[in-house]
Symmetry: C2
Amino acid sequence: MADEKLPTRAENFAEWYNQLVLKADLADYAPVRGCMVVKPYGWALWENITSWLDKEFKATGHVNAAFPTLIPMSFFEKEKEHVEGFAPELAVVTHGGGEELEEKLVVRPTSETIIGHMYAKWIKSWRDLPLLIVQWGSVLRWEIRTKLFLRTAEFYWHEGHTAHADSDEAKEEMYRILDIYERFCYELAAIPAIKGTKSETERFAGAQITTSIEAMMWDKRALQSGTSHYFGDNFARAFEIQFLDRNNKLAYAQTTSWAISSRIIGALIMVHSDDQGLVLPPRLAPIQAVIVPIYKNDDEKSKVMAVADRIFVELKAAGIRIKMDDRENISSGFKFNDWEMRGVPVRIEIGPKDVEKNSVALARRDKPGKEGKSFVQQVGLTESVKQLLVDIQASLLKRATEYRDANIHDPKDYEELKQVVQDGWALSYWCESKECEAKVKEDTKATTRNIPFEQPDHGGTCIVCGKPSKRKVYFAKAY
Amino acid sequence: MADEKLPTRAENFAEWYNQLVLKADLADYAPVRGCMVVKPYGWALWENITSWLDKEFKATGHVNAAFPTLIPMSFFEKEKEHVEGFAPELAVVTHGGGEELEEKLVVRPTSETIIGHMYAKWIKSWRDLPLLIVQWGSVLRWEIRTKLFLRTAEFYWHEGHTAHADSDEAKEEMYRILDIYERFCYELAAIPAIKGTKSETERFAGAQITTSIEAMMWDKRALQSGTSHYFGDNFARAFEIQFLDRNNKLAYAQTTSWAISSRIIGALIMVHSDDQGLVLPPRLAPIQAVIVPIYKNDDEKSKVMAVADRIFVELKAAGIRIKMDDRENISSGFKFNDWEMRGVPVRIEIGPKDVEKNSVALARRDKPGKEGKSFVQQVGLTESVKQLLVDIQASLLKRATEYRDANIHDPKDYEELKQVVQDGWALSYWCESKECEAKVKEDTKATTRNIPFEQPDHGGTCIVCGKPSKRKVYFAKAY
């Protein structure tokens, strides 16, 4: 409930974020270290995210399945880099049914290992490939510093795991998924995320290539918003995923994995929201428009509610996710603040004067105050609201894109790079050596985000060491 | 793959079941004790189950949310009966992030406790009620004897948890949900499950009333297919879920919980399937109709495939879940067996003669052999297939209902009861004492299933002890 104001973003961005998540009723702290409860409003948002992705995955030939939550500890020891990456973060089950277990079980931090084990059993021939499976659920990593949605011990996601007969096909899959993630960000989340390849240092544990989409938050930090990995035959060798190819020769499968997690809700908040609270893109908003009827007495109430009810039915029938706020004994001002806090894109106000004039007032959440307010006729209101939702969606993307572009810099030398990454991103040539990457991190706390697929048509010189460089990379501080 | 025959049900029902689950590609054994992997075909079936239920819950005002998978051990100790019921089945996390935990965490076997804890935080006033939350996910109980879908350590389900201002409303909720479960069984699963109240012995740990739907399997055992519980204020007292009522007095909330789990897939198998494999009701079948094109040479192939492709597009556009089996180098006979094993309701065969005659052959899965085969015109095929799917759905329910009714007995005395429950159910008067219930169990292994809501208009005498009895109960051996 919006009974208190948030701190402004400029005052205290971290505290603004924490309070917004709670006050917008998205999530709550759980009584388990580092875990969250995703409340119904937050989960409805997550369902809008997942249902679009699920449809896209199915349309590209993927199927869903479910693998156990608990994984034998020994599975993690089969792939060397993987175990090094995950060992410090594991939650371990040592007892079951009142007895100590012979082999410890791990609450899955990710499922490459157990899925790899099953794939080895299922895949015998090239006819069994590609195998394109997605699992929806949660995983657990024992994080030290946690933050609602952005970094919690348990988090929600899908994890795609695919096996292919050859490396080109597996790489194609990795890029196909990254394209879906990019479209999700642009079209649904109104976030202009940037596709690229991770540096060796920033790769997923066990991957040969990790690609990512990176988004700029309001505080200009980067948030890795989705990743798609190519493992080559690393996991196939570790788990013996072998098949008879078309020439009847035994070969290792090529595998990929990829994920977007509930972190993306953190990105939605930090890209679009403002000092009044959450701002949601209409395509993802659990409630796209809210009707607030305004009246002072029973006579006004009956006139106003007749119109409000009719409009509610019309908009609902048109497929708009609509809510009627007919709570009694709560002021309109309180209701306005409440729905602003929750980020509902459009507010429809109906008072006695509107009834007389056959009009309503529309307030758009992305432009608070007078600028975002308009008065429209009740006739044709469904179309007006639909159009407004489209406008808001486009406007949020435009604003986020302009903000991103205004804060990506092209520093002329290392001194300037050190300055710009304090409050923005740098897109600079880099020699791709670990030494230069580490130096930037040490000097500035900025890391390489990704090497974008879109590159200038010529090379340059590394902004750190001056050696020849083929490609530019984004340097930024990151969540 | 249907490369080997199943044992018949009469030969070895348990082994028939196990092999069917594997060969119909529904699930596989996991490398974790007592756990299963739900394969894509099984998961698609589960998605058809869950999406209908989710829609019904939302239509009745419920919302989804997510609570942590791990629950502090101390939470289980707050409700006495609950801890006694679940303590032997817990999987316990003792280490996290490389260190021993101060308080052990339990992988949730059910979520009343942690949800109760959050409800206590969220519910302050009667205005916050009712709170109607559903969680979709998996839970874990350390079962000793496991069986795919029927009893696995980890299983999939929804768990509804609601809090109400008064007991009548909470009980109404319990019955409303049971009605949804009953409609699911009749309308979707074609299973004539019976609603009723559980005996005190068979109640859920901590419940004041447990209601269930019970279904009869092919081997005449009962399977509890869904439960809906009323807790009174037991959990509210344990977790201090208190609110200010309309008179501004502090009161305890009344709570319910309810669930249908992936067990229901076991019921679907054991009610409808036959010695050739799985039989699925059309409304739940991931694939409702499969096209098998039949040809011997390239000339035939091109003619047949032109028709098959056209039909595929037409049926798909009509919303039928259709699959084309155009696998090369596999005989039609093998394909027929394969789709029979997987329980696809309708097979559409198209050969060169069908092309000439503008017809196709339709084979219905529920009636194998000639009886279920018909030849219909290609013109109007969409309607023919749709009608056939409706017929199959109705026919499965009719068959299961007749089977159930033929195997429910009304024994005249205890001696006859002891006989009939060896191969059927008894519906008999019972005095509702634990002693008589225990005696039946000891003598026959049959337990009370539920006291059906539909009762004769007069009482009788207990079939065990002869004392006066108000209501009849179902006695049966159960899974």
